[in-house]
Symmetry: D2
Subunit: 397 residues, 4 copies
């Protein structure tokens, strides 16, 4: 039975369409909805809506559901209904002074806090494994052309440092969303009852409640878009690191090798050892990014207050969190097992990488920079002309 | 067993990550992969790779799979492997002169052609139900302000006409993608065997094969992005029509009503009858749009030839097709059951809607347009000032 | 003086904000607005609003403006106002039976038709220069790993063929937008006067008028988003071709070289010759794509009829057209001057590229494909193990 | 003369294309590039590259340029070249131990810090003007249907509170970007010279330098994408507030009125008073959002190190900053001058808004919530049926 059932039947096709896959996604929220319901029940007891016995009954059943889970059927629409129904008689009272709007939001925020914390742990592990004390030199590229010398340690350390940036970004987001929306009800607060939002917020581990109920509704999707911005930052680094690894793993470079049990083959070409895992991580950046923009657009051009459109922001968040976690785990595994091919790296350290060094030595000797730059530049130009012009048969148009 | 299995084991976590949900999505492709495999088998028989008996065996089994389906396990990776394995001994020969790359692509294209054709039928039905001969007047709005008179028939007919535009767009896309990629193999054609791409293309109902194998690979994702552009065009119209209906269904306007069995309620407010179905259709535009941009970005900044990144373009296509079909069905149902509230419509036809008419009557009488415009404009300015200034207590800052 | 000036002053800051850079962008539309105004004037003469003398006067002045241009000041807001004011007395009559809404749209459509036609010419030229009869072999890559042999001719021909696809896409869009919106006025048609939309459509070279005035308004932004989808298709090919060229131009590959006068240098490293032009073309794909996305979102979640939001769709169209033309010109220049380094290409044709060929030869000799595949696969696996394991000192964790 | 000029001419068309509008955009950076150059010069003096006289000369000239500006011609490419050339003889030395890469980045970061600080001031002012002590009741809407009572104060306060969220987000971003990239040179650090990055960072007011030079390059575009995420958060609130105001300003609601000098008219309909300014603010959200998306895609799928693609991230940042500032200024002006129509607001407070209150009163009297909900629900259902069924002639299909 739906929470809003008043004895008139909704068209079955409409119902199926509006529920969508919410009843599946909501499995992620069951334990958080229970936790929020426990906090709410305690508050209802405090303000006299639930008796001590009703509270105990509710808390006992909610703890059971947290442990054993609950089946959510399409007819239930979502976890909130399934849980309310599972509570039996006390369920009929527990929805006092709240709405599904704030219930969905508070469960989501608890879920998000927990998941972001897990992602931070993975980020820290990645930052750690990236600190490899491998002083093997490799070329630094700009414009995909050899630029100046660097080394494997510096290269990988850059991603470790950037993971620190991402941790900083995640911390800000965690702080931003650490406010309880419970008590905003349908978005305009709770009349008649004198609810205690401070109490429920504290009970659930939030820093404080969101004061203004319309503000609480405004955060739906908006806070989530900040979470997704944080996740795209992480995925961006993985996208770039994958791009590096795919290139450096090419036999033409051979700076690194993936263990062969990390590679997949071709159905037609028996010689292939493909870095599919890296290509998929690279692609997943765009998946998460599109989910971010999905949310940012769904919530636009709408007046304040709840719209059912917001339901479509749930899947992007859950999907992006799953992807980010999976990709971080993959990258940790890859970096742990990555092989550095010292011989190939050293072979790649050709003369032009040291041109700037040569310039600077002239500057140290007293020549103004621009003059030294030109002098060395002309030397390299001459070298190139000699080596390339004569033997290679160009085929221009 | 994987198509590329050479007896070395892939790391289990890597394998799970790279397969993703492909084995689930591929249920959509089973019958199309079978159809393509039948065409390929016939061609292999023609060029002497398969005997008549082997061909008959393969065709018989593939027809059985088309009818009864096939189980795809994560270990299979995809439908192509599951089907090849299900074919038994002849399966070991049928992969001659093709690659999974062109096999995936050709199955996808057959699937897309079939789905787009189905969407065209739905669009035609929508265009039909939108032609309602209801001459009830309603205000035409610009800038969300009453502008000039229109009527229900003209209003709904605009979406019917726009559905014709969408049909035109879909037809162009169908024409664009109506080329068989089979024969491009891994993206560089088939050596040794003299395959007949014309034959397989014709056999599967394509207009012609894609000539250049690298071009065939380049269409992966690119053609799909064109399909998604066509779908976003359809979804855009549904987004706008939903926006119209949501506004006109507000009691403040009351031009239309949704039947109550199309509305859903609130968990807290017993009086509510919410147009959730319309809000979700509105939101789904952004979902499909984000999927379009996902594809368009996944395929960018990559050199020619296949990359595993392309796997991530499969779900956006399938998801967007499902959404578009579902939303079209919903909108057909809604329009069929929409009620027009004649009394409210007529009441809304206030004087200012006829201001331009008044101007034009003056012009007909010989006054230049700009002069007539100013004359009528001043009259309305005066009217407004009189009616609004005195009684309403403004609260400015 | 503004078209809607009724003697009350608009706040200066508001005015500046709402005009934005429209007065600058509109220089692109001047000649098309004149052409549309000539058609409209002829029609007004036919239905008796303008005398023959007034028509002659208007046509003469509009032709002058087409030739000499007109200054558009911020106070004018846009080209339409500047032109109406420049017409003097007859200008006061010419706005009869039209609105700025349909005037903007018709001028934009004429501009778009002209620009798309120019882009088609550039595409044809690109398709032509890409047909180079250079049979030099190069490796075909999948997953950024050597896959099978191909050659320069086939590689470049793929972009030529894809340019044909783009021409097909552009033609569909040109057909879609080839309908005159003139006569839709503010979006609800023209009362009092019996205008002849067929006549003006024909006069301006459109296939036909858009019948339904609300439909005409619905196409604003929507048709433009189709134009942008077509442009992103072109830019996508340029993005991929640039990616190919940037990689193949790396000394590590050296398959192609850009002439040195096409490269730019570094402020610090005197040896650098960077392919900036290719990197910028690559990046511009994302610029155009974001502009497409911008339009598709600006027009969403709005009821039918005109909204000022649509003004923001003008710049994305103009900007994307300019970028696409510039990038096409650059790529034509580059391809014309591209040098193919035959020696490097041939050196890259290593043994593993022929593995599939080896398999197929075994198949030809009677071995089933999967067995042959495994046999050759094991051989390559053995080769790799021997060559790589012993000498290179791996540095794993 | 370009910084990398070595006496070989670049093709003029290529040059024009690669420079683009950089030379125009860079006017925004002149003073920040001077500030960074002063810090760099002091450091060069400290490490012995510049004499005290040379330093004084450089500082004097740089201060002059900061004050009077400098002309940047297309041939200069950018402000960095224009300034180096304007410095004369000492300019030839000042580029020692830095690259344009880190010079562009440091100037951008200084510019961004300054602009974000300005935006924070505007946000604070907006938050202030939104705190209006207007206790006039208005309906709260969910699903665009009357839900529960609220009031003008609570409604506007929600945006004030949300502005506080935005300030928090901006502060995090400011903290994130408050690291000096100077010293990363071309992205791989400075050889030969022992530069003092701590000193220059401190001199320019950064918290600290970015340690790892490859990390510094990785932040290009990435940090900017965080800035744009912060700006889209601000623009999102303005988008929603505009949507509220556009609806409530409709005569059908009439809760608020814009002063008439804030409205614009129509070229055809003399009665119109359109809220263009609000529609444009609403649309600008999508502009900034697309610019964010642009940056996030431009920087993807690229290996570490500088690519010229990054140049295309400059305009999106500058444009989005300009838009956000302009929209904030507009909204401050609008809110300051907004009129609240008390009579209309009160008239809109119809009975159904109090249904939840009625339920809660029953609950207070001892009835379980779900039972009370159903009781009140049935009453409203009965009321609706009576009032709407008989008189209104429905026109279904």
């Amino acid at each position: 039975m739906k929470l809003w059932d008043k004895g008139c039947n909704v068209n079955k096709e409409i119902e199926k369409f509006t529920v969508g896959n919410d009843y599946l996604l909501d499995q992620n929220l069951v334990k958080y909805d229970c936790a929020a319901s426990i906090a709410h029940a305690k508050m209802l007891n405090k303000i006299g809506v639930l008796t001590k016995d009703e509270l105990d009954e509710a808390v006992k059943k909610l703890n059971e559901i947290m442990e054993k889970g609950v089946e959510i059927n399409p007819e239930d629409e979502d976890c909130h209904t399934a849980i309310e129904n599972a509570l039996g008689e006390v369920g009929k009272k527990i929805h006092t002074a709240r709405s599904r709007n704030d219930q969905v939001m508070v469960a989501l925020r608890l879920y998000e806090k927990s998941e972001l914390t897990e992602i931070m742990e993975l980020l820290k592990e990645l930052a750690k494994v990236l600190k490899k004390d491998v002083k093997v030199p490799i070329p630094g590229y700009t414009h995909m052309q050899k630029a100046m010398p660097t080394d494997v340690k510096t290269w990988l350390k850059c991603y470790s440092d950037s993971a620190e940036d991402n941790l900083e970004i995640l911390e800000s987001v965690l702080k931003l969303i650490n406010k309880s929306p419970l008590g905003s009800a349908a978005g305009f607060g709770v009349p008649v009852f004198d609810i205690d939002k401070e109490m429920t917020a504290k009970e659930m581990g939030f820093e404080k409640p969101i004061e203004n109920p319309i503000h609480a509704q405004l955060t739906r999707g908006k806070y989530e878009s900040n979470i997704l911005n944080a996740l795209t930052q992480i995925m961006f680094d993985l996208n770039k690191l994958s791009s590096d690894l795919i290139l450096y793993n090419m036999p033409e470079f051979g700076f690194v090798s993936l263990p062969k049990e990390f590679c997949t083959g071709s159905s037609i070409m028996p010689q292939k050892k493909n870095p599919d895992v890296l290509e998929l991580i690279r692609a997943k950046y765009h998946v998460v990014l599109a989910e971010e923009f999905k949310i940012k657009n769904i919530i636009s051009n709408l007046i304040s207050g709840y719209h059912r459109d917001f339901q479509e922001t749930k899947e992007p968040v859950m999907k992006s969190i799953e992807i980010t976690k999976a990709c971080l785990k993959m990258m940790i595994l890859i970096i742990k097992n990555l092989k550095i091919n010292e011989k190939n790296c050293k072979k790649a350290m050709t003369k032009e990488l040291y041109a700037t060094e040569e310039v600077y030595k002239l500057v140290k000797g007293g020549m103004p920079f621009r003059d030294a730059y030109k002098k060395v530049g002309l030397k390299f130009k001459k070298l190139k002309t000699e080596s390339s012009d004569s033997p290679s048969p160009f085929l221009g148009s």
